[in-house]
Symmetry: C2
Amino acid sequence: MAGGVGSRFWPMSTPEKPKQFIDVLGIGKSLIQLTVERFETVIPIENVWIVTSEKYKNIVREQLPCIPESQILLEPCMRNTAPCIEYVARKIYAKYPEANLVFSPADHIVLDVNTFRNVIKNSLEFTENREAILTLGMMPTRPETGYGYIKSLQGNETTSQQVETQRLTSESIHKVEAFKEKPNLETAKSYLAEGGYYWNAGIFIWNAKMVVNTITALVPELTSVFDKIEPYFYSDKEQEIINQYFPTCPNISIDYAVMEKSKEVYVYPADFGWSDLGTWGSLYTHLEQDENNNASVGQNINLIDCKNCVIHTPSERKVVIQGLDNFIVAESDNTLLICKKEEEQHIKDWQK
Amino acid sequence: MAGGVGSRFWPMSTPEKPKQFIDVLGIGKSLIQLTVERFETVIPIENVWIVTSEKYKNIVREQLPCIPESQILLEPCMRNTAPCIEYVARKIYAKYPEANLVFSPADHIVLDVNTFRNVIKNSLEFTENREAILTLGMMPTRPETGYGYIKSLQGNETTSQQVETQRLTSESIHKVEAFKEKPNLETAKSYLAEGGYYWNAGIFIWNAKMVVNTITALVPELTSVFDKIEPYFYSDKEQEIINQYFPTCPNISIDYAVMEKSKEVYVYPADFGWSDLGTWGSLYTHLEQDENNNASVGQNINLIDCKNCVIHTPSERKVVIQGLDNFIVAESDNTLLICKKEEEQHIKDWQK
C-alpha cells in the first residue's frame, strides 16, 4: 500500500514525492524499496503487488524496476485503505483463488528483518486454510499516543518475555477483543499497565477468499463498486473502468470497515523494531546520533554547538549549522523548514 | 574597485560570485549595479571604469552591459588596492592626462544618494587643479570597531551639526593628521568623545596626474612594474602583459602605501547613510524589519515565533522558520548556513 501523501514529513515528503519514495534514513534506499526488500525470501518478487496513486506510477517504476507494470495498481484518487485492499484482493482472487495475502504499508521501517520474516512466514501458515484476519501487534515499549492499539481477548495477553521465549511461533496468536484509536497519554499508560495491548502496525495477513467474503459481508457498498469493475480485470479497459468507478468507493479505512466489526480477527504479538516513522521525532530516534545527539541525513553537514537536532537535507547541499538545540532542519523540493522539534504537530498548517 | 571575494558574507557571497555582484538588499539590483547608478548625473557612464578579477569578467559584462569591455580592467590575481589604483590611473592618465578621478569600492551602500552626489561634485571641484588626495570621512554615529578611522588635523574637526548646516560644501574639507586602523571598543569610544575622527569609507578623489606622481614618489616598486606595462596600454597585448607582470606587484593597500605617508591628504566629512556592509549585523540594520525585528530577503519566507533574525535565501525557495531568535539563515550557491548573529565572526572558519 503506497498511496499516502506523507504530509507530516513536509518538506522532506511532499504530495509530488511522498515519504515512501524518499531515502528517509539516508542509507541509499527509499522506504518502499526497503519494504519490498523486507519480503525477500518470504514472498517471491513476482508475487508482489503495489497499489498506489496514478501520479506515483513513474516513481514506482523507477524505484522498483523489478515489479512488472501489470502488478502496479493505480488509484485515480485517495479512498483510504478499504478500497485499496478490495481492489488488489479482488483482482488477485479472480485469477488466483487460493492466494494468501499480506497487506503492508510501504512507508514503515523494521529494524530486525529476520524476525519480521519469521513472523510473516508463521502468519501466512496461520491464515492459509483459516477464515481468519491476522493483524500484527507490536509489543509497546512506551505509552505512545501516536499509534492505535489492539487489545487481545482478556486472559490471552502475551508478555514481552513470552514473545522472546516463544521465539515468535504462531502459538502466541490470539483473538482480538477491540481496536483502540490513538489514546491520550493517560489512557496509553493504563494500556501498558494493564497488559494485552499492542500497537497496530497496519499489517494484515488473510487469504484472498477471506478478504473478498469479509468485505462482501461487511462493506456491501464497496463490493458493489468492484462487482462492476471485475469483468474488466486484466483487460485493456481496466484502468479506464477503475478511473470511472473507483471514485465512487466509500472513503473508509479497513480498520473501521472490517477489523472493528469482524469476529475473526486475531493478533500476533511481535517485536521486530517497527516504526511507522509518523513523526520527525520518531525518525530522529531511528537515525544514528552523534555525540551531541544530533541525527543527520545528508553528505556534507557541519554542526557546531548543536544538540538534539534532526537534519535532513539534499545530498548535494553543503550545510553549516551553529547554535541550535532540539530543532528540525529539513530541505527538499525547493523548500526549507527550520522549527523546534516540539512544534512539529504544526507542520501541516505551515505548508499552506 | 570590484575585485573582492566577500568572504564574510558566505554563503550568500562566494568566491565564484562575491558580494558586489549579489542583490544583497533584495531590491532587484546588485551592489555594483547600485554603485554605478549612484554616480549617474555626476560622472558620465562612458567615463566609468571597472577593475575586477579576470574571473568576474562575465558577471560584470552581464550586470553592467552599459560599460564597454575596454573599460573593464582584469587583474589576474589579487594584489590589494594600490596596484588596482595604479593600473587604472596610469592607463587613464596615458590617454587623458587631465583626468580627475574618483575611486570607489563596488560593494558598499549609500542611502542618501543626492547628498552623495553633491559630495562627489564638490570633491572633484576640490581636486581638479590641486595636488591633493581627498578622502571621504563618514560622520561616526556609534563607536564602530569594524571600520578604520581618519583623524583630521587638530582644530579642524567638523561636527555633525556643521556638516548639516554647511550643506556639505567643500569648505568643510580639512587636512588629515592620521589614519587609524580598526580600533577596539574603548579606543573607538575615545575617538567619538574627542571629536575630529571619521570612518574611512575607502573612497578617494584625486586627479590622475596626482595619483601617478604620488605613487612614483612613495611606491617606486609599484611604478616600476607599470613602467614595463605602460607601452602596451590600449594594445592587443595589454592583457597578456598584465597577466605577466601584475603578479609581481607588491601586495599592498593604498591606505598603507600612500594615505598614511603623503602630506597632501585631506578629509571631507560627510553623512550620506554609508555602510560597507561588512557584516551580517550591518546588513541586518540596513534591511526593512518586520514587527518582530526580522529582516528577510526572499520571495516566500514565512517566519513563526521568530525575532531579530536576518534571512537571505534564493528568491525561488519556499522557507518556513519557527522559533529562532537572533539568528542568521542564509542560503546560496548550494550552501545553507544557520548560525547565531553573535557568532558571525566565525563564518570565515566554517567555509573550509
